[in-house]
């Protein structure tokens, strides 16, 4: 951990000084300043509820918005004080495009990332869970894998079907290329009958997700942070070695 680290938040106020001067006037009623805490070298991204993309959902939905997550991921990538990312997932799914965008962002980070599925990481939560360098799932957590389908207005033309099929192919490709599961196995889980009440697909629980190769390990927050620290240490060593080679 950096001892002299300023608790500067990643997407800092540079560039929007007008806004920050306005909001810096905000003060909590009758409370004094707390001592500033040292920042952490591990940052944590929590993805809860629905993943909201191009369409705003009605207020009864709990959502995680992609316009909030993407700048945070950029900030995590560019801030040298942040050395690792922990992603905590408890999501029911959401917008395919937004979910894949977040997954691609996490997968392309140069810093080590560890994901932890707690409760549920369903539908589009599956690619997000596997996008990290290493993934954990709680023993009781579940992941539902089912086909992508169109809700709302459906025009019964072959193009609609092809479009959906391509959408589904994007999800399958991402998951199979970022985890240990084979395409055949993933498709088998996705199209199996008799497991879900209203749908075809499979509800994969903790250990099963690991034995299918979808997730790396069963564990909780302790194991996830330990793994992340280990990966961060390796990253630091690699950087030092690279530096030495340059000097020589």
């Amino acid at each position: 951990m950096n001892q002299d680290q300023e608790p500067k938040q990643p997407n800092g106020p540079e560039g929007n000084s007008e806004q920050s001067s306005l909001v810096s006037k905000l003060q909590s009623l009758g409370q004094t300043n707390v001592p500033q805490m040292e920042g952490s070298s591990i940052h944590c991204l929590t993805i809860v509820g629905q993943i909201e993309g191009h369409v705003q959902l009605p207020p009864n939905n709990k959502t995680t918005k992609y316009e909030h997550l993407i700048p945070q991921l950029v900030a995590i990538e560019q801030n040298p004080k942040i050395e690792g990312l922990l992603i905590i997932l408890n999501t029911v799914g959401g917008d395919v495009e937004a979910g894949l965008a977040i997954s691609e962002m996490i997968a392309s980070l140069s810093k080590p990332s560890v994901s932890l599925v707690l409760g549920g990481g369903h539908s589009i939560g599956v690619p997000i869970a596997v996008s990290a360098n290493y993934s954990f799932i709680a023993e009781t957590a579940t992941m539902t894998i089912h086909p992508v389908r169109l809700t709302g207005l459906v025009i019964g033309v072959p193009q609609t079907f092809e479009y959906l099929d391509k959408m589904q192919e994007r999800v399958i490709n991402f998951v199979t290329s970022h985890s240990g599961i084979t395409e055949e196995k993933f498709k088998e889980l996705m199209f199996s009958k008799g497991n879900l009440t209203r749908d075809i697909g499979t509800n994969v629980i903790g250990k099963d997700a690991v034995s299918d190769g979808l997730i790396n390990e069963v564990g909780g927050v302790g194991q996830a942070i330990a793994k992340l620290n280990e990966m961060m240490e390796q990253n630091r060593l690699k950087k030092t070695n690279d530096g030495l080679e340059v000097i020589q």
């Binding site: 997407n11 806004q19 409370q31 040292e38 709302g152």
Partner: protein
């Protein structure tokens, strides 16, 4: 718009609409002591913290901006 979710469509859109109602028109994101927070305006000068939007775990230890806290705009 393609949804890939477990949530049934009728639960996501209870009144049959297709998501045109602005969800968080009263919610805005702002910085409180350099911590990004999602707030809801409850009176012209008061904002209630809905969610801490930071990724820094240390920011969640700050009592001043825990969800539910009321922040007051100080115009002095």
């Amino acid at each position: 718009m393609t949804w890939y979710t477990l949530m049934p469509h009728e639960l996501m859109f209870p009144d049959g609409q297709n998501g045109q109602s602005a969800q968080n028109s009263v919610q805005t994101q702002m910085l409180y002591k350099n911590i990004p927070v999602l707030v809801e305006q409850i009176s012209p000068l008061e904002y209630k913290v809905v969610r801490v939007m930071s990724t820094d775990p240390a920011h969640f230890m700050n009592d001043d901006c825990c969800p539910g806290q009321i922040l007051r705009a100080d115009h002095s």
